[in-house]
């Protein structure tokens, strides 16, 4: 039975362009307090554009109402459990939004004089310190804009280090369970990618790894706990194997939410790693970003960090650009500062209590696993950390796949888990509850999953054709890709949609 949601109504809404009407606007300017200039005169007529064709013209209230209505078509963590595995969809504390918007922080210009920037620099320094402590590494850069960007930065540093040691080498090893950004990153830094298979416990196969590691290998990119939520128990051995051949170990720290306060990658033998502040440190996912992907490194790699770096000079901070070994900037300015503020606020809120948050994340995942294991095929028997991954094997026999179960969950009032990832699990259901969910919500989720498992037995078509109760029903992604319409044009719209007037 569906307990968590009830049918209700949501407002329809056309696209802005369809709402537009000549002469309207939603924002006005103060009167100009200097003489107007003739654009054609100062810029040259050829440089002045005609009006922006079809650009919307809408009043303020219509804009607010437009986006408010659109928002009601969305699901967010604020509405309920969002167990999207590998994404750590935890509560986004609202105080973090407040502090990030304080004038002195939000309106700081990256080029304003350092003497009137000590506060922002202090934020950066404090966060670097905290992340060093949490990871057990030696130094951190906050420049990368997201996890993938951090990976890029880290692999680039490995490359730069290896070059000083005689050559960049050719290959990066990536376990077959890795996230897609890992191989994509290696390729962007000019490496070829070699996959390492996982063993039947969901961990890197040591033998396969040992065989693959040679003087051509620059690094292994390992995720720990890995994408099946399992701790790589041989992590120290793995690092040893790589180091023995002069290769390095990059750790994808997307799953740091399983470790903070309990284990430190710095103790594993990791050389470089990134963190996803929008995961472990609760900065909002915002419909797909912004994120931040700080990179933590050992002392050996520290000189290669992107510049500039903060340096203390007496009692004040200054930016140091004089970094001869640095790989160079990976982006303009100093990183996604506004995201850094939020992450620091989150760390301050927990302090050394981060360990409890981690334990709760593990408990929630293990609790769900225990409740669901009777109904779904667990991918690996190994112990789970912060997420649990099932396969749709049992349900597939009835012709129902993980994607169908996911859509049916929507009818039950939940955002689905991560579908079909990691690739090594056949029809994966990857479930990460995070520590900010309580037992009540988890019980409702387990009930829903179990109920769906029964539906699969009794009425698989019901599941295959889900969702049934949403404003938008199953979306035709195939047509979207076959003949892409990626912008609105007058009269071209594909829809026959009387429901959006």
């Amino acid at each position: 039975m569906i307990k968590k949601v009830s049918p209700h109504l949501v407002q329809n809404e056309p696209l802005l362009f369809e709402r537009s009407m000549p002469g309207k606007r939603g924002c006005e300017l103060p009167p100009l307090d200097v003489p107007a200039v003739d654009p054609k005169a100062v810029l040259g007529a050829e440089n002045v554009r005609a009006e922006i064709e079809n650009f919307p013209e809408v009043s303020e209230f219509e804009v607010l109402r437009h986006f408010t209505r659109l928002s009601t078509w969305n699901y967010g963590i604020d509405l309920g459990l969002y167990p999207l595995g590998s994404c750590t969809m935890k509560y986004n504390p609202r105080v973090n939004e407040l502090v990030a918007r304080l004038d002195g922080l939000a309106w700081a210009h990256p080029y304003q004089p350092e003497e009137v920037s000590q506060g922002v620099m202090d934020v950066i320094a404090a966060l670097e310190r905290a992340l060093v402590e949490i990871t057990g590494m030696d130094a951190v850069t906050l420049q990368p804009a997201a996890g993938a960007h951090g990976e890029f930065t880290g692999i680039l540093m490995i490359r730069a280090l290896l070059e000083t040691r005689g050559g960049a080498r050719k290959k990066v090893l990536v376990p077959d369970s890795a996230h897609g950004t890992n191989p994509a990153t290696a390729a962007m830094v000019g490496y070829t990618v070699e996959n390492i298979r996982s063993n039947d416990r969901g961990m890197v196969d040591l033998e396969a790894l040992a065989k693959a590691v040679n003087e051509d290998v620059a690094a292994l990119m390992i995720t720990n706990p890995n994408t099946v939520g399992v701790f790589e128990e041989n992590i120290q051995k793995i690092c040893g194997i790589l180091h023995e051949k002069g290769a390095l170990v990059y750790m994808d720290g997307a799953n740091m939410n399983a470790l903070a306060g309990v284990l430190r990658p710095g103790d594993f033998g990791i050389d470089v790693m990134h963190l996803n502040l929008h995961k472990t440190f609760s900065t909002p996912h915002g419909g797909g970003g912004p994120g931040a992907g700080p990179v933590a490194v050992t002392k050996t790699l520290a000189p290669f960090l992107p510049g500039p770096r903060l340096k203390s000079e007496g009692d004040r901070w200054t930016w140091n650009d004089d970094l001869p070994e640095s790989v160079g900037r990976v982006r303009a300015y100093y990183g996604n500062f506004g995201v850094l503020v939020r992450a620091l606020a989150y760390i301050l809120a927990h302090g050394n209590g981060l360990r409890q948050a981690t334990l709760d994340a593990l408990l929630n995942a293990n609790y769900l696993r225990a409740l669901l294991e009777p109904y779904f095929q667990i991918a690996y028997k190994s112990r789970s950390m912060h997420e649990c991954v099932f396969s749709d094997d049992r349900q597939a026999k009835k012709g129902v796949r993980t994607g169908d179960i996911a859509k049916r969950l929507i009818d039950y009032g939940f955002h689905p888990y991560t579908v079909s990832f990691p690739l090594i699990v056949h029809g994966a259901l990857m479930i990460e509850p995070t520590e900010t969910e309580g037992k009540r919500e988890l019980d409702l989720f387990a009930d829903a999953m179990i109920s769906i498992a029964k539906e699969v037995e009794e009425n698989p078509e019901l599941v295959r054709s889900a969702p049934h109760s949403t404003r938008t029903r199953r979306v035709d992604e195939v047509t979207a890709a076959r003949r892409p319409i990626v912008r609105w044009r007058p009269e071209q719209s594909r829809h026959s949609d009387s429901a959006t007037p």
Partner: protein
């Protein structure tokens, strides 16, 4: 802890259900030598009040309430209040990449609107859902051009934002993509002769920025002709999106890479911002980043979904067009709300006000370059420390250019926007005049000696 909803009672029940005796059992199987023996050397968790207090104190240590004439890629524009009202809605703020289209139509529809407006503004045919920022969009555009042309050299104008160029170098250095820079002419714009000289059949793309780093408009039409004649692509970069309200869009470009910070994104000491890449339809499968497309649901109603994922890392892995995953959706939403609010006429008026303010100020200062400029320009300081003087009066002057261009040691880049008050501009003008006067009288004294 206030963020943790499980009570101790809950925890006990859950442990039991999971077949565990205690919390310790959740981790006791992990290698003992790796388990932390000491608690983290962090302070005790802080209350909300203390957190607010802490950041307020830090915020107070930065410039607050200063007038500022800084630009250089980060602009001081008014942020309409509606923007935060929209992005603070939990349904936008706390959702993630809209993989599950059926409960993400809000995000998807807004991105579709975003992509459309970016096309309308830039004159391109397709635009993606966002890149990290303008600086990271720059190498992405370069690599895209390399993929399209199967050539591998990049030429980039020295009038492109210096930090963007540095990012380009960082990203291309290990990919076998040589990057060369193109000089600027006396007038501060790309030196077309140097372009012609360096351009050849190996060049995948020529990258220019307009308005360029000096605030000047580049001659993109002429440049395009030269570039296209050699079969290379033209990448046009912009950092000041407001200029697109007034200035002829770079229709002749093959790829446009830009930064939307000006559209309701606060400066935030340099980020998070939102970059974009826009291009022609025929190159769509070489674009990096997310794309939203229109389709229908099984009932035939209009619907939106992520599309052409076959370009992306989660499908293509090492063969993806980029490794980008999480991008800048919420900032793109801010920009979308901003564009919706100003709309067709508002955006133009906004641009015109920027133009007027910048010209008001520029008219009072000794300029270094002569060309047409939008809301930034380079002024001659004559080696005088005008900025320190202004700072004492709570005015932040321009960006000294010596740090980026050694030949421009005694100049600064100033920016005026709709937020620049006439009185503050007069203060800047006065400081320039005073510095010259002081020097003149100092000269006079020396002469008299």
């Amino acid at each position: 802890m206030r963020y943790l909803p499980n009570s101790d009672f809950d925890r006990q029940e859950m442990l039991r259900a999971a077949g565990l005796q205690s919390e310790e059992d959740l981790i006791s199987y992990l290698p003992a030598e790796l388990r932390m023996k000491q608690p983290l050397a962090l302070e005790d968790g802080k209350s909300e009040f203390e957190i607010v207090d802490y950041f307020k104190r830090l915020a107070a240590q930065n410039a607050n309430g200063y007038a500022s004439f800084l630009g250089a890629g980060v602009y001081n524009h008014y942020r309409p209040v509606i923007v935060d009202a929209v992005v603070s809605r939990g349904e936008f703020l706390t959702s993630y990449t809209p993989y599950q289209a059926e409960i993400s139509q809000g995000t998807l529809a807004s991105i579709f609107e975003f992509q459309t407006m970016i096309c309308q503004l830039t004159g391109m045919e397709v635009a993606n859902a966002s890149m990290y920022d303008g600086s990271s969009a720059t190498p992405e555009a370069a690599m895209m051009a390399v993929r399209i042309t199967h050539r591998d050299k990049i030429l980039i104008a020295r009038t492109v934002h210096p930090e963007y160029r540095e990012v380009l170098r960082t990203c291309t250095q290990h990919q076998g993509i040589p990057v060369a820079e193109l000089a600027y002419a006396k007038n501060g714009r790309l030196d077309l002769d140097d372009l012609k000289k360096q351009l050849n059949q190996e060049v995948a793309a020529v990258m220019v920025q307009t308005p360029n780093f000096f605030g000047l408009l580049e001659q993109t039409k002429e440049i395009a002709e030269i570039v296209h004649a050699k079969g290379a692509l033209l990448v046009v970069i912009f950092t000041e999106a407001v200029s697109l309200g007034l200035i002829e869009p770079p229709k002749e470009a093959d790829i446009v890479a830009g930064e939307l910070q000006s559209f309701a994104i606060s400066p935030s000491y340099g980020g998070p911002f939102a970059g974009i890449i826009a291009t022609r339809e025929k190159y769509i499968r070489q674009m990096p980043g997310r794309l939203v497309g229109e389709t229908t649901d099984i009932d035939g109603h209009r619907a939106f979904c992520l599309t052409l994922a076959a370009r992306e890392q989660h499908i293509r892995r090492e063969k993806a067009t980029s490794n980008i995953c999480t991008n800048q959706a919420l900032l793109a939403l801010m920009a979308t709300v901003f564009m919706s609010l100003y709309g067709k006429n508002g955006l133009r008026e906004l641009a015109e006000q920027n133009l007027a303010k910048a010209h008001y100020l520029a008219n009072k200062l000794p300029l270094v370059f002569e060309g047409p400029f939008f809301n930034e320009f380079v002024a001659q300081t004559g080696g005088r420390d005008i900025n320190s003087h202004l700072l004492k009066n709570k005015v932040i002057g321009g960006v000294p250019l010596g740090r980026f261009y050694s030949e421009l040691e005694d100049t600064m880049l100033l920016c005026a926007t709709e937020m620049s008050r006439r009185a503050d501009m007069d203060t800047v003008a006065a400081a320039f005049r005073a510095a010259t006067a002081r020097e003149r009288s100092a000269e006079a004294i020396t002469a008299n000696d």
